[in-house]
């Protein structure tokens, strides 16, 4: 009995230590000190200009960023310039080349919208501001880091506080109910659909983000052992595992839109094609994309979203500060604003962007709780219940392989 008590006590102390170190790990400095520092940060940031490199292919997202920039200008006297990027890999390449020529202080990129393989590449090349800066942002208290591991892991890679969660995405498809009764809800059904409806399906040309994600989705659905995707890709061991994907594509590609000889450049272009009825099914990573396009008048209001029965890829997207950013303080202030309830509710609003919030409702004040719970969901946006089947991202090392192989097999052979 005594031994038991002692055992429990040891356990308790051990647990306390663990919790303490965990808290310490996440919140390295105490609240008071944090606020002190924050004042300095604000002071430093005032009057500065930052360049936010973010994918710029969607009008609603661009408008949202413009709004956020206007707000931080008013509140903190910071000028945010949105550098519209077509492929985030190019931004990584730019920072990498700056590092190569030893431009270590006044880099051109101050803040970048990023996740997945680009993050992993930046992390492994030491291109990111470390110092766990995200935990020092006052608004990080609204994020439930301890219960939601996806906020600190990006495609399975620990973020180590180097990137701030900004929003949540899940791959989803949409179709016009006026013309289609039940859309295909699995990779196999989709294959049959494509073969039956020649020329009425396509995806953005990889290495576009959504295009590559679509390939990953198919791979996850087809691969015999999903656990393999959690591992780092090793050619000798895993090359054969991709065969199911290539087989699927071999069967499908000749029946794609424009016989698979041309692809739209991104998901905005897909929306146009669905609107014009050149193709039947659209896809997006933003769960409110269809609703959003309906309110913009781009899609007909009979359009609805759906996901595959086995679930679809879901991930968190982040903002990160490059190690050589010229204005780190202002970048932090802007990142902090982006995760404020005010910015997140606007982002979740389908009339602006429709991207689900990353902050935890439980951590908000009653006022904000009410606001969030009364926010209307879009006409074509799936409910959380509909979206509960989520697939985890494969290890980032798979992405490059899939992209390169796809380009080799389908992207350069015509």
């Amino acid at each position: 009995m005594l031994i038991n008590i002692r055992k429990n006590l040891v356990k308790l102390i051990f647990n306390l230590c663990l919790i303490y170190s965990f808290i310490h790990f996440i919140f390295p400095s105490f609240a008071l000190e944090r606020n002190e520092n924050w004042k300095d940060v604000l002071k430093k940031a005032s009057g500065q200009t930052i360049y936010f490199h973010a994918w710029g292919g969607a009008k609603n997202i661009n408008s949202y960023i413009k709004w956020a920039a206007g707000e931080v200008k008013k509140k903190y006297n910071i000028t945010v310039k949105h550098v519209k990027v077509s492929d985030t890999a190019n931004v990584v390449a730019k920072i990498l080349s700056e590092k190569n020529v030893k431009k270590n202080n006044n880099g051109t990129v101050d803040l970048v919208w990023i996740n997945g393989e680009n993050f992993s590449l930046m992390k492994s090349n030491n291109l990111l501001l470390s110092e766990k800066w995200i935990f020092n942002l006052p608004n990080s208290k609204f994020l439930d880091f301890s219960n939601d591991p996806s906020l600190l892991n990006d495609f399975g890679i620990p973020t180590d506080g180097m990137e701030m969660p900004w929003g949540v995405s899940q791959l989803n498809f949409y179709y016009d109910t006026k013309y289609i009764n039940s859309p295909p809800r699995s990779a196999l059904e989709l294959k049959n659909y494509i073969i039956k409806n020649k020329g009425r399906f396509t995806f953005p040309q990889p290495p576009d983000f959504v295009g590559t994600s679509f390939l990953k989705q198919i791979l996850i659905e087809l691969i015999s052992d999903k656990k393999l995707l959690k591992l780092k890709y090793v050619t000798q061991q895993h090359e054969r595992e991709l065969d199911t994907l290539w087989q699927w594509l071999d069967e499908v590609t000749p029946h794609l839109w424009r016989r698979g000889k041309n692809y739209p450049s991104n998901y905005s272009a897909i929306t146009e094609l669905v609107a014009e009825r050149e193709i039947d099914l659209g896809m997006a990573f933003n769960i409110a994309h269809a609703s959003n396009s309906i309110s913009e008048g781009k899609l007909s209001n009979s359009v609805r979203s759906y996901i595959h029965d086995k679930g679809t890829l879901a991930n968190v997207h982040f903002v990160a500060i490059p190690y050589n950013s010229s204005n780190k303080a202002a970048s932090k202030v802007f990142a902090n604003f982006l995760i404020s309830p005010e910015a997140q509710i606007k982002k979740q609003n389908k009339d602006f962007w429709g991207d689900p919030s990353v902050i935890s409702i439980n951590k908000l004040s009653q006022k904000w709780k009410n606001k969030f719970s009364t926010l209307p969901r879009g006409l074509a946006t799936l409910t959380n219940e509909d979206l509960r089947m989520k697939l985890e991202e494969p290890h980032p090392s798979w992405v490059k392989v899939i992209e390169d192989k796809w380009i080799k097999k389908y992207g350069s052979s015509n």
Partner: protein, 561 residues
């Protein structure tokens, strides 16, 4: 002593301006030449090897990209030249001949991508042509599953290119025609019982050709390496070499800079091969026997050829106009779904929204082209003046300024990028303006320098005897004399700068975008309505520039000389 000092100063100025212009051009070349062999000391690589050629040729589908670039470059130049001559020939003896310049000037003024965008609006399965015949003829109530463009052989790229190059060739041919008594020669040919067609081919064309040969070479170099039009009209699996270079350069692979440089060198080889091939063609065509052979073909069935050629010229002309018109309609349309031929309603909302969102881009585009063109014209005047002071008859190195037009844009820019890195500019505007200058100076120079140099010596001598010093002579005598050339050069400079895509994309670093870059982004992913509005500005701004300059030159030049 005084004169000697000023002489030294002028000499120093000439040398420094010369080097300031020449050094970046040289760097633009060696900046991709050396890295393509693996040499780039800033990155700690200082050993030459041929490894990157190996890597380049191992890129999936690269040979197809190379063939595509060769094919589109050659065919589009040949066709554009052919059609330009045919159109001139048939209009030569008509009244329309006097108006050609007015008709084609706006077409020349438009950026290349405007023409490409027009083609999308016409030929895509949901474009105007299918709307025209649907559903009453085709039964299509939705865009057909037909694969038209961009086609795998690059035919649409060729179409887009010739729509732009035909007016250009016509314009340069027109000015060539003014330099000899074309009408007399033509009549002579007719009196020898040649047809219109053959008298043009035998007598006039060789004379024109001699004058525009240089321009043809520039067009070959341009069309075989065009970036902006390829992005819209070329196939994407794979695309032309120029696009592959861009993609490689931007990828985050460790060796991307070296491979891209190597591809840039290959792109240069492509241009050289095309130019050599063209010269062989010249030899074959001008060879006596083959000349007779061509003549036989031409006199045989000329009627049939004439019909087809005239018809296709007319079609080409209407294609360019229709493309522009349909882009404009799209900019002001609402609820325009397939298969409606015309939008259900028109709206200004898209226009005003676009304008509010992109005001700054529109103004910066105009600002940059204004500044670039201004500097370029000034530099030309200063240069010519300095050379005159030094009493140098001919500068053999002047042709160097034309090099940027012969080196593929993408290659030259990669080279310059490596050069610019060294300076670590804080601003993006300054390098962008400097780089644009290299593309604008050749045009300013070719228009302005001859007229400055042709000013009669007597006028200057009289002015000097009236006690005017050099500056006064320049400002109150010379510039008024060449005012109309100056204005033309200024307008052309602005138009060239305004339509540049690749330099802005490269050196604007995303921080500075111009309307041309924005329009291209919209063409790839944006809504058609926004694209329509962007195209509207792409059309209206060049035309306004032309009109302003025409007005100014009428007003200023009327009462001078």
């Amino acid at each position: 002593m005084g004169t000697n000092f000023y002489g030294q100063l002028t000499k120093a100025l000439v040398i420094s301006i010369g080097t300031l212009v020449i050094i970046p051009i040289i760097f633009g070349f060696i900046g991709f030449f050396l890295p393509s062999f693996g040499y780039f000391p800033i990155l700690g690589k200082s050993e030459f090897n041929l490894n990157y050629f190996h890597l380049s040729f191992n890129i999936a589908g690269i040979s197809k990209s190379i063939i595509l670039s060769l094919f589109t470059g050659l065919v589009s130049t040949l066709l554009a030249l052919f059609f330009s001559q045919v159109i001139l020939l048939y209009l030569f003896k008509t009244r329309a001949y006097n108006y050609i310049k007015i008709i084609i000037s706006p077409l020349i003024a438009l950026p290349h991508i405007t023409m490409a965008i027009g083609l999308i609006f016409l030929f895509s399965p949901s474009g105007l042509f299918f709307r025209l015949i649907s559903p009453w003829l085709t039964g299509f109530d939705r865009p057909p599953n037909i694969f038209i463009m961009p086609d795998e052989y690059g035919l649409f790229l060729i179409l887009g290119l010739i729509l732009k190059e035909i007016p250009f060739f016509i314009l340069v041919s027109l000015s060539a025609l003014q330099e000899f008594s074309a009408k007399k020669i033509f009549d002579l040919g007719k009196s020898l019982q040649n047809s219109n067609f053959s008298s043009w081919c035998i007598l006039i064309f060789p004379l024109i050709y001699k004058k525009i040969r240089f321009v043809i070479f520039i067009v070959i170099a341009f069309t075989a390496s065009v970036v902006d039009m390829s992005l819209i009209l070329a196939p994407s699996t794979p695309s032309t070499l120029a696009i592959r270079i861009l993609q490689t350069y931007q990828s985050s692979d460790a060796d991307s800079l070296f491979i891209a440089s190597n591809l840039a060198l290959i792109q240069l080889f492509i241009i050289i091969i095309l130019l050599l091939f063209w010269m062989v063609l010249e030899k074959i065509v001008s060879y006596k026997l083959s000349f007779i052979f061509f003549m036989k073909i031409l006199s045989f069935k000329t009627f049939f050829i004439k019909k087809i050629v005239v018809l296709s010229s007319v079609i080409l002309f209407f294609l360019s106009i229709l493309g522009i018109v349909s882009s404009l309609i799209w900019g002001f349309s609402a609820n325009w779904y397939f298969p409606n031929f015309f939008p259900k309603s028109l709206t200004l909302d898209v226009f005003t929204n676009f304008y509010n969102e992109n005001k700054s881009i529109i103004f910066i585009s105009i600002f940059i082209s204004f500044i670039v063109s201004l500097i370029s014209s000034l530099l030309t005047i200063i240069w010519v003046e300095l050379i005159e002071i030094l009493k140098i008859k001919k500068i053999y190195l002047e042709w160097i300024i034309f090099i940027p037009l012969f080196i593929p844009q993408i290659s030259f820019l990669i080279g310059l990028q490596s050069f610019i890195i060294i300076f670590d500019f804080d601003s993006y505007l300054l390098p962008l303006i400097i780089i644009q200058l290299f593309y604008v100076i050749p045009y300013s120079f070719i228009i302005l320098a001859p007229s400055l140099r042709e000013i009669k010596k007597e006028i200057i001598i009289v002015a000097t005897s009236l006690g005017k010093n050099r500056l006064q002579r320049l400002l109150s005598i010379k510039i008024p004399i060449v005012m109309s050339s100056l204005l033309t050069s200024f307008a052309i400079g602005m138009l060239v700068s305004f339509s540049l895509y690749t330099p802005v994309y490269f050196f604007g670093g995303g921080r500075i975008t111009t309307l041309t870059v924005e329009a291209l982004n919209l063409a790839l992913s944006g809504s058609r309505q926004d694209l329509g509005v962007a195209t509207f500005f792409q059309i209206i701004i060049p035309i306004l520039i032309l009109i302003t300059v025409a007005y100014l030159s009428k007003k200023i030049c009327k009462w001078r000389f």
